[in-house]
């Protein structure tokens, strides 16, 4: 039977878990978080009152430009802050939206909706073509590609005179209209653009606080671990980039139809730098910060105009100063300052000390009912039946240049079996795990997981097949809290996409509710209940390791790859953790354990595979391995079979 895990809906609760009745009934997630809802309501009220308070239409013009910039910044912030990718070409997408819309609408006489659709689709397509190859690479290649692209677009707009009017620009663009209502004054456009912005702002806030937003944050924090949790990193990065180009194109479209005249100067590289600056000044990843940044940086040149020739210099100095002294961004730093002031006012010295503990308290291993049915792959019977291989590795080799890291290794792992992988440092243990989990392509050999070939699959696809792994150094997502980290483990069991998350469709809300309930139940079961809202750094090492394993179990894996799970723990903690891992094995999971602690290996493993210099030198039950002269030689470097160094 194929290992594909289809719809998780009729699921019986988390792997070895309590009955669903025990789960607390969490509040259904509302359309919008209450805090955001209140803040948005306040913002909307202020914006509504503003035109009446100002009375000056020049200032309305300024506010309209702020809204347009804020729209571009909204998408860019999602890209920079949440997904960790930078674009220095958003002026080009802004310009494409403006020019394509204006050419289609005014020159070719298309109806407005058609022109808008044309501008958005073509811009999105171009963004996609740019993103697919560049985002496949590690590092900041997107910056360079978008930068080059921006310059090309500016030059093309200047040169394609028949279409764009060249350097002198394109004039006479008709104003926007909706059902006969013309948006032809500053005041009308003000209400239109801020209304549009608020709707998209709310949707984007939703998006960041959802399955998709969590995945994006995880990619930014730790792409490696995100892939191991089944997050399709490349696809997500491409999508969020395209989304951000669409925001920019929409803003450009509105801009062109608002000012009715566009020229290439507006869309040059300087604007791209400006919008990135708005994001950085306001606070990367903080959407409210983006809004503040957009308002400040847009207004700044207006305020500096009376300095005439000095204004560029002052602008640059303010920018540099803000970056140097308030690097986290104005909004996050401001909030932190407020919190500190409030705490200083409220706190007596005693509470400071009393606050921290309780978090890093002792951890007790979860009680696991033996062999719950849910953990067993459907294709297998109870753990007592004949063990058929879950994972088969045949003649696997990997070389890095001239270095033979893995040399023709063959091994199998069955359901309900714990195979320990041991060997001196540099023997290739972690490399082998990396190959199984898809981080490294093998040079030769075969890997089959329940009959499916693993070679050539991306890490997230392998995770989705049911192979979970933990890392030698615990890997967490530092911008997500404990619950958020665990929730990421349920990523493959959700379906909600960008649209569903942004608009909080009923299906997406149901799914979020179900998964949150499961995660909370799981958190309680593994004994981390009180820490749900804490940051991961506040957990003790053993708690972090438990969290990492719990997160991996949320994938419902059939095979678990554990890379030195007890390294760094004290003996009692090691014991407890291994006890738990042993119970998982008893529940039917196949486990590959890389471990240096021979006591643990000999006590818990069903079988031991010994690697040396990338080759397998022994494979058998612990008792025999302990006496194997080759193994002893590998560890001691001598062939004295009398001494048994591996005896626990």
């Amino acid at each position: 039977m194929n290992a594909q895990r289809p719809d998780p809906l009729p699921h019986q609760g988390p792997a070895p878990g309590p009955s669903p009745g025990e789960a607390p009934a969490p509040n259904p997630p509302p359309r919008l978080r209450p805090q955001s809802r209140h803040a948005l309501a306040v913002l909307a009220l202020i914006l509504l009152a503003l035109p009446y308070a100002l009375g000056n239409d020049y200032l309305l013009l300024l506010f309209n430009i702020i809204a347009l910039n804020a729209l571009v910044v909204l998408g860019l912030n999602l890209l920079i802050g949440c997904a960790g990718q930078i674009s220095l070409g958003h002026a080009a997408f802004y310009g494409l939206g403006a020019y394509l819309g204006a050419i289609a609408g005014s020159t070719w006489g298309w109806p407005l909706p058609a022109a808008l659709l044309f501008a958005l689709m073509l811009t999105g397509l171009i963004g996609w073509l740019l993103a697919v190859p560049t985002l496949r690479l590690e590092g900041h290649y997107l910056v360079m590609a978008t930068l080059g692209f921006n310059i090309i677009v500016t030059i093309a707009i200047n040169q394609l005179e028949p279409f764009t009017g060249g350097p002198s620009g394109l004039a006479g663009i008709a104003p926007l209209q909706a059902g006969g209502f013309l948006i032809d004054s500053d005041r009308r456009f003000y209400f239109f653009i801020w209304g549009l912005f608020l709707v998209l702002f709310a949707a984007t806030l939703n998006l960041t606080d959802s399955r998709v937003g969590r995945a994006l944050q995880a990619i930014h924090d730790n792409e490696l671990a995100a892939g191991a949790m089944g997050v399709a990193c490349h696809r997500y990065k491409v999508r969020v980039f395209v989304l951000s180009t669409l925001y920019a194109a929409l803003a450009g479209f509105c801009y062109a139809h608002y000012v009715s005249f566009i020229s290439p100067k507006t869309f040059d590289i300087f604007y791209s730098v400006q919008v990135v600056t708005m994001v950085v000044i306001g606070g990367m990843g903080n959407l409210w910060g983006g809004l503040v940044g957009a308002a400040l940086i847009t207004a700044l040149p207006e305020l500096l105009h009376r300095f005439e020739d000095l204004h560029v210099l002052i602008y640059g100095l303010i920018l540099t100063g803000a970056l140097v002294f308030v690097p986290r961004g104005l909004v996050p730093s401001g909030l932190a300052l407020l919190r500190r002031l409030r705490d200083a006012a409220a706190a007596t010295p005693a509470t400071d000390a009393a606050d921290a503990p309780g978090v890093a308290a002792a951890w007790a291993p979860p009680a696991i009912e033996p062999a719950p049915a849910a953990a067993l792959p459907d294709s297998l019977g109870s753990p007592g039946t004949v063990l058929e291989p879950l994972l088969t590795i045949h003649n696997l080799s990997k070389h890095f240049g001239g270095l033979q890291a893995i040399h023709q290794v063959s091994m199998t792992v069955a359901s309900g079996e714990m195979v320990a992988l041991i060997g001196p440092n540099g023997a290739g243990k972690t490399t082998l795990l990396n190959i199984i989990s898809g981080l490294i392509e093998p040079s030769a050999g075969r890997l089959r997981f329940r009959g499916t070939r693993l070679e050539g699959l991306r890490p997230h696809a392998i995770a989705a097949l049911g192979i979970g792994r933990t890392f030698q150094a615990v890997q967490h997502f530092r911008h997500l809290n404990v619950l958020g980290n665990l929730l990421l483990g349920y990523h493959t069991r959700g379906r909600a996409g960008f649209l569903g998350c942004a608009w909080r469709s009923p299906a997406a809300r149901r799914e979020a509710r179900r998964i949150a309930a499961q995660a909370r139940a799981e958190l309680r079961r593994v004994g981390l209940e009180g820490t749900a809202e804490h940051s991961v750094d506040q957990l003790s090492l053993v708690q972090q390791k438990v969290l990492e394993i719990a997160r991996t179990l949320a994938l419902e894996p059939a095979l678990l790859l554990l890379d030195e799970p007890v390294a760094g723990l004290n003996p009692r903690e090691s014991e407890q953790l291994m006890e738990w891992i042993g119970q998982l094995r008893a529940a039917g999971l196949g486990i590959v354990l890389v471990e240096h602690d021979m006591n643990m290996v000999m006590r818990y493993a069903d079988r031991v595979v010994v690697l040396q210099h990338g080759a397998k030198i022994a494979d058998g039950p612990p008792r025999l391995i302990q006496r194997d002269p080759k193994v002893i030689a590998a560890y001691l470097g001598t062939g004295a079979p009398g001494e048994v160094p591996l005896e626990p």
């Binding site: 080059g148 970056l323 690097p327 990396n434």
Partner: protein
């Protein structure tokens, strides 16, 4: 088409290319010492040229004196950029530091506008204005000066990296800053030196190109971006890559402008950049980026 113009295009391509190569080297020096992209590199180019113009015209210094003085001044400015904003920055995150250089770039440009105004400035050509005719190509003496000085700088850089203790220390810091600190190399001093050298490279490029094209307060942006494109073309961070990438970019640009369309001259550099990112992102001479786990 006008194939007989080919030698002329190659000459002008190699001339511009040498200047791009010097700018690319500036990027490369800072990249290797700190891992940062210095967006103020183009403004170093502008500053070098403008300071030389001031020294020569306003102060009446002879060119052979104004030239080195301008280079030294910009080297100091580069060092100040590192000693000041970059070192003060409370957030060591690469993105923030890169944005700090963007801020510095705008500030320098703003200062340039205040000091020298918006007009175009010129320097006289070093060797007079009588072209030398070789094989159907008219070569300005300035071109020979550019090629000669670029070669000289390259050789000096090569000797510096290979044979001097400071140069070796600098490579050590680039390779492994932690290890370099452990054996007593001052990482800070090396980074400051890298910024100074990078400022000098930029200034040199600016002074060399000004007699051919003129200079204004905002011209540094495009020159800087082309140097950056050249550095990527050759393989970002690779010293020989920066030189060859810059030269190649200059030649491709000249050929594109000559045979396809001079209106799109500036676009060719960036089309080449996009093509190389899509096809061989490590650059022509760079090593494949190692995947770290």
């Amino acid at each position: 088409m006008s194939l007989h113009l080919l030698p002329q295009f190659i000459v002008s391509g190699v001339t511009n290319g040498s200047v791009y190569a010097l700018i690319a080297l500036g990027f490369c020096l800072i990249q290797n010492a700190t891992g940062l992209v210095n967006f103020a590199q183009g403004d170093f180019v502008m500053l070098g040229a403008m300071i030389a113009v001031s020294l020569y015209q306003a102060w009446g210094l002879a060119l052979p004196i104004a030239f080195p003085l301008a280079v030294i001044s910009v080297a100091m400015i580069g060092m100040l950029l590192e000693r000041g904003p970059i070192r003060w920055s409370r957030n060591r995150d690469v993105l923030t530091l890169v944005m700090v250089t963007v801020g510095a770039s705008i500030s320098l440009r703003g200062a340039g506008m205040v000091i020298w105004g918006k007009g175009e400035r010129m320097l006289p050509a070093f060797g007079g204005d009588t072209p030398i005719l070789i094989q159907g190509a008219a070569i300005m003496p300035q071109t020979l000066w550019i090629l000669g000085i670029s070669c000289l700088v390259l050789s000096a850089l090569f000797i510096f990296y290979r044979f001097t203790l400071v140069g070796k220390a600098m490579r050590a810091v680039a390779d492994n800053p932690y290890g370099a600190r452990l054996i007593g190399i001052s990482e800070r001093r090396m980074v400051a030196l890298a910024f100074a050298m990078s400022g000098a490279m930029g200034a040199l490029a600016g002074i060399l190109i000004t007699p051919l094209t003129g200079m204004n307060y905002s011209a540094g942006l495009m020159l800087g971006l082309k140097g950056f494109a050249g550095a990527i073309l050759g393989g970002y961070g690779s010293t020989p890559g920066a030189v060859l990438g810059g030269l190649l970019l200059g030649v491709l640009e000249a050929l594109g402008a000559g045979f396809i369309s001079s209106a799109y001259k500036d676009a060719f550099a960036f089309l080449v950049l996009l093509a190389i990112l899509f096809v061989k992102p490590a650059g022509l001479f760079g090593a494949e980026p190692a995947k770290r786990l």
